[in-house]
Amino acid sequence: MTALAAILLRDIRIAMRVGGGALMGVLFFLVVVTMTPFAIGPDLALLKRIGPAILWLAALLASLLALDRLFTGDHDDGSLDLILMGRAPLELVVGMKGLAHWLTTGLPLVLAAPLIGLFLNLDAPAEGALVLTLLVGTPALTFIGMIGAAIAVTLRRGGLLLAVIVLPLTVPVLIFGVGAANAAVVGPVPFGTPFTVLCALTLASLVIGPFAAAAALRQEME
């Protein structure tokens, strides 16, 4: 087993165990979306129109919820020291941690979205489009978020700072994610254009996130 496979497996295992918090994001997602019809009222046309936006916003907040544990756990128990000393490049290790984080917090959101979409009066084509945008877009949320998580790692209560740093950076993902999902629901814009931009944003964040996070971690160990 190589170092990268080892860290991927370890992070997934920790998230699945008691106290790992893998299902907290999904529960939060479920609660936020369930509350929306109560707040807005039983206007089915309105719910259908704002449904994708509500789901995306809830997914953004849910993925933010678990991000502050991405590096602080390893920092607090000294694991990060050994990770920095390892022979595996830090950028790849950070990327693997991001992948494990997405598999345990982002992917469950994508899988839960079709069910939760029913609360917001979404029909089958709209749900399909929404799940596709979430599948493509949530990795970008994780990999942009990891930059903030790496910056806030040494702070005791970094969660709020993390949100302040990360949320503005996720605006493009939110715009094109909701844009693509809305295009499938109400038209008349084609689905492909905003969806392609969303794919591009995700690919860019997959590259930039690990490098920026690794640089921040190296700086902070001083």
Binding site: M1, T2, A3, A5, A6, I7, L9, R10, R13, I14, R17, V18, G19, G20, G73, D76, D77, G78, S79, D81, L82, I83, L84, M85, G86, R87, A88, M221, E222
Partner: protein
């Protein structure tokens, strides 16, 4: 193999932690770093593995693997145990053995042997969260046994260990030295090595404070200048 340090300086938060430290450790030798609290013993070990930036000075390793940095050939046993409470004893050790690059042919026998060496074999499947402080320490030490690296940097290795475990640790250190390894240990008491050199670190005392404030002033103007 020989680890040379020439004129090491370390600065943290604008304060000199230690200054002008020189030492040489060769294969089969142990160096114990002693000094009062705050003298910079831990900082010295962290500087050697690159977790703290070296303000001035030179660190070289003769006869090591030229492809690898000093940190990549060293084990660092710090104050923190680097264990995950939700993973079992064996899982914790297996992860570090795989991550730190122990490409053993049969990983599971290596893990079992290492756990046996530190006396934790009966607790292999117990979550690490249930271990006592001394058992956690022993599990960290098992990492040094499971993955072979020539340089051991130990920060108060005997803390929380009982008499039996201390004796076992000194046996491990003797084995490591006779196998051609080298050890740097920061300590307050004897760690059971029959023969070791001593490096005494003195805190950079307040009597230096005048020059210290001058340095600060110079630094500040340099930063403001451009």
């Amino acid at each position: 193999m020989r680890l040379n340090a020439v004129d090491l300086h370390c600065r943290r938060g604008g304060r000199d932690v230690f200054a002008g430290v020189n030492f040489t450790v060769a294969s089969g030798e142990a160096l114990t770093v002693v000094g009062r609290n705050g003298a910079g013993k831990s900082s010295l070990l962290r500087t050697i593995v690159g977790l703290l930036r070296l303000a001035r000075g030179r660190l070289t390793l003769d006869g090591g693997d030229r492809e690898l940095s000093i940190a990549e050939q060293a084990h660092y046993l710090g104050h923190q145990d680097a264990l995950k409470p939700s993973l079992s004893t064996a899982e914790n050790l297996t992860f570090w053995a795989a991550f730190l690059g122990g490409k053993a042919a049969d990983q599971s026998t290596v893990i079992a042997q290492a756990l046996d060496t530190v006396g934790l074999a009966p607790l292999a499947s117990l979550p690490a969260g249930y271990l006592s402080a001394g058992q956690r320490r022993r599990l960290s030490i098992a990492r040094l046994v499971a993955v072979k690296r020539p340089i051991w940097l130990l920060d108060e290795p005997t803390s929380a260990l009982d008499v039996t475990a201390q004796a076992r640790l000194s046996g491990l250190m003797q084995d490591h030295l006779s196998g051609g390894g080298l050890i740097l240990a920061a300590t307050h008491g004897p760690i059971g090595l029959s023969r070791s050199n001593e490096l005494r670190l003195d805190p950079v005392t307040p009597s230096f404070s005048d020059s210290f404030f001058e340095d600060e002033a110079v630094d500040a103007t340099e930063q403001d200048g451009p």
